[in-house]
């Protein structure tokens, strides 16, 4: 375990050697995607230079190596989530694909009119549109848990989160816009009490918090490699074996069958039956390297540092007139995202001017249009933190906002 400073961590990331407009980059768009440490880039290159072959098919040495590396990566992902077995881990292209898999393979054949899917008002479109589609196709209905003034799930909604009609609770662990950490453990308990299943969108929690699927006791959980310092195009669906084993594949083709005849086929067991076609082996291997990298740090110390930096950012931004912060005021109740608006200036203009100062943030609806509607804004600016950020990045953000104010000064 090591606990180096953000500055030493930055040295692990080749991209920070690049200058933007003559300055190093203050990268504050980590909720969109994180930068990649050298170890991850090298794992990708190493796979293609030394081990590249298709998996589960060839008997030749390379193919056996590739298969072994791929299955080792599955084991690494299982350990990352404290899953009871690698067989609970399905590799997907990301969180979106993982949630859609559950929507198509678990929900669609099982839900009926009268059944209820419970969501929150802060879901990313990826944990919303698949359920809208399932609801349309099955006649099930959607219900939303509303938020309080600080962007947390409102207590009175939490108490009545589920009903006898609830079959599925689909909830984000951490909001990609507000940074809010949701009490997922409690919600899962409530769901279990009425016999409903739960799927947790862990895309934004896995980069910041320990995620233990056995402690959470959720039925499904999804995350993306590219948000935990791994490559794009690889992600994970965790599912309890009792569910995965009972689900039909959402896609079929090569690599997922035991035997095929002219008018029928036998699927392989889970998780392989959900991985039709050639998988992203290099991505899985590099994801394992990313998880090694992330878990090579003292997690508690990192989290403490992040809470402190969040507090610093809330303070620095909070003192600016015309700037409105969203999300919980307590830094310990949030992870990563720090959204705000600047009076009289559209978020895109804010982000553009900050980019001119080599400060990368995001302005937009962040794939959360219903949340934007709830907050009564068309869009927000979002700064979001990663391992390598420090107070200097926040200071540069604040200076950039000074420049925004200068350009958009009111006459």
């Amino acid at each position: 375990m090591s606990f180096p400073s953000p500055e030493t961590i930055r040295a692990d990331f080749p991209i920070f050697r690049r200058e933007f407009h003559g300055r190093p980059l203050a990268y504050l768009d980590n909720a969109a995607t994180t930068q990649k440490p050298r170890a991850v880039i090298e794992a990708l290159v190493d796979f293609y230079e030394h081990h590249n072959a298709n998996t589960h098919s060839g008997v030749h040495t390379l193919s056996e190596e590739a298969t072994e590396l791929y299955e080792e990566a599955r084991g690494r992902a299982a350990r990352f989530l404290n899953a009871p077995s690698p067989r609970c881990i399905v590799f997907t292209s990301g969180t979106t694909a993982a949630i859609n898999l559950v929507a198509q393979s678990w929900a669609r054949p099982r839900l009926q009119p009268g059944d209820e899917i419970v969501l929150t008002a802060m879901e990313h479109h990826s944990n919303l549109l698949p359920w809208q589609q399932v609801a349309r196709e099955t006649g099930a209905s959607l219900r939303y848990l509303e938020l309080d003034g600080e962007g947390r799930l409102a207590t009175e909604h939490m108490e009545k989160a589920v009903t006898e009609a609830t079959r599925l609770l689909a909830v984000t662990h951490v909001s990609n816009v507000l940074g809010t950490i949701n009490p997922v453990e409690r919600l899962v308990r409530q769901a279990r009490a009425v016999g409903a299943l739960t799927i947790v969108d862990a895309a934004q929690s896995t980069p910041h918090l320990p995620v233990d699927v056995q402690a959470l006791d959720c039925d499904f959980l999804a995350f993306s490699g590219h948000k935990v310092y791994g490559p794009m195009g690889i992600g994970v669906l965790y599912g309890k074996s009792e569910h995965l084993d009972a689900m039909e594949p959402h896609a079929s083709g090569g690599g997922m069958v035991l035997r095929v005849e002219r008018d029928g086929a036998d699927w392989m067991e889970a998780p392989w039956r959900f991985e039709a076609g050639t998988p992203n082996v290099a991505g899985a291997v590099a994801l394992a390297a990313a998880l090694d990298y992330l878990q090579g740090f003292d997690g508690e110390a990192l989290r403490g540092q992040e809470i402190a930096l969040t507090g610093y950012a809330l303070e620095r931004l909070g003192e600016r007139s015309g700037l409105r912060l969203y999300g919980p005021s307590d830094p310990a109740q949030r992870a990563g995202a720090i959204p705000f608006s600047v009076e009289g200036v559209h978020p895109h203009d804010v982000a553009e001017i900050l980019d001119g100062q080599s400060v990368a943030v995001r302005g937009g609806h962040h794939c959360c249009q219903p949340l934007m509607a709830h907050l009564g804004v068309p869009a927000l600016v979002r700064a979001s933190l990663g391992l390598y950020n420090d107070t200097n990045d926040i200071d540069r953000l604040a200076e950039g906002l000074e420049r925004v104010a200068g350009i958009f000064r009111h006459d």
């Binding site: 407009h21 559209h346 895109h348 553009e352 068309p378 350009i407 006459d411």
Partner: protein
């Protein structure tokens, strides 16, 4: 780049964004269209009254960034009084120009030159086209 933000947010742009021309909705429009930028959720509503083929009045309401506001305002000045089909053709020429085509800016659109700085900011080009997009789709409301 500091200078870049300066060229992008020049005084003309900011002035049009703050005080957009032809921003009032028309009361009895002959044509109407809405345009949405799916990337950022910006929305624009356009109404027209016509003198035969020619645009008599134009009203544009934008919910969006300063670039989209200014672009709509500059466009509204440029198309007033000319035939709708001609204005739509100008819109296509403007789009080609903004997308880096080597085509030059039509003389009629000289007033839109300050928007050329947006060419360097690929993700924002659509902000300058939103109003033109609506103009291209402006459908008749009533048969006269």
């Amino acid at each position: 780049m500091t200078e870049d933000a300066d060229t992008l947010y020049r005084e003309v742009i900011l002035e049009h964004a703050r005080h957009p021309r032809n921003a009032a909705p028309l009361e009895h429009p002959h044509r109407r269209a809405r345009a949405v930028n799916p990337l950022c959720g910006d929305e624009l509503e356009l109404t027209l009254t016509m003198d035969g083929e020619a645009i008599r009045e134009i009203g544009i309401q934008v919910r969006g960034c300063a670039i989209a506001q200014a672009a709509a305002s500059l466009m509204s000045k440029a198309v007033k009084g000319i035939a709708l089909s001609e204005a739509q053709a100008l819109g296509r020429a403007f789009a080609d120009h903004m997308h880096g085509d080597e085509t030059s800016l039509p003389a009629e659109l000289d007033g839109l030159r300050p928007l050329e700085a947006v060419k360097q900011h690929r993700s924002r080009i659509n902000c300058t086209l939103l109003a033109w997009q609506a103009l291209g789709e402006a459908a008749p409301l009533v048969e006269k």
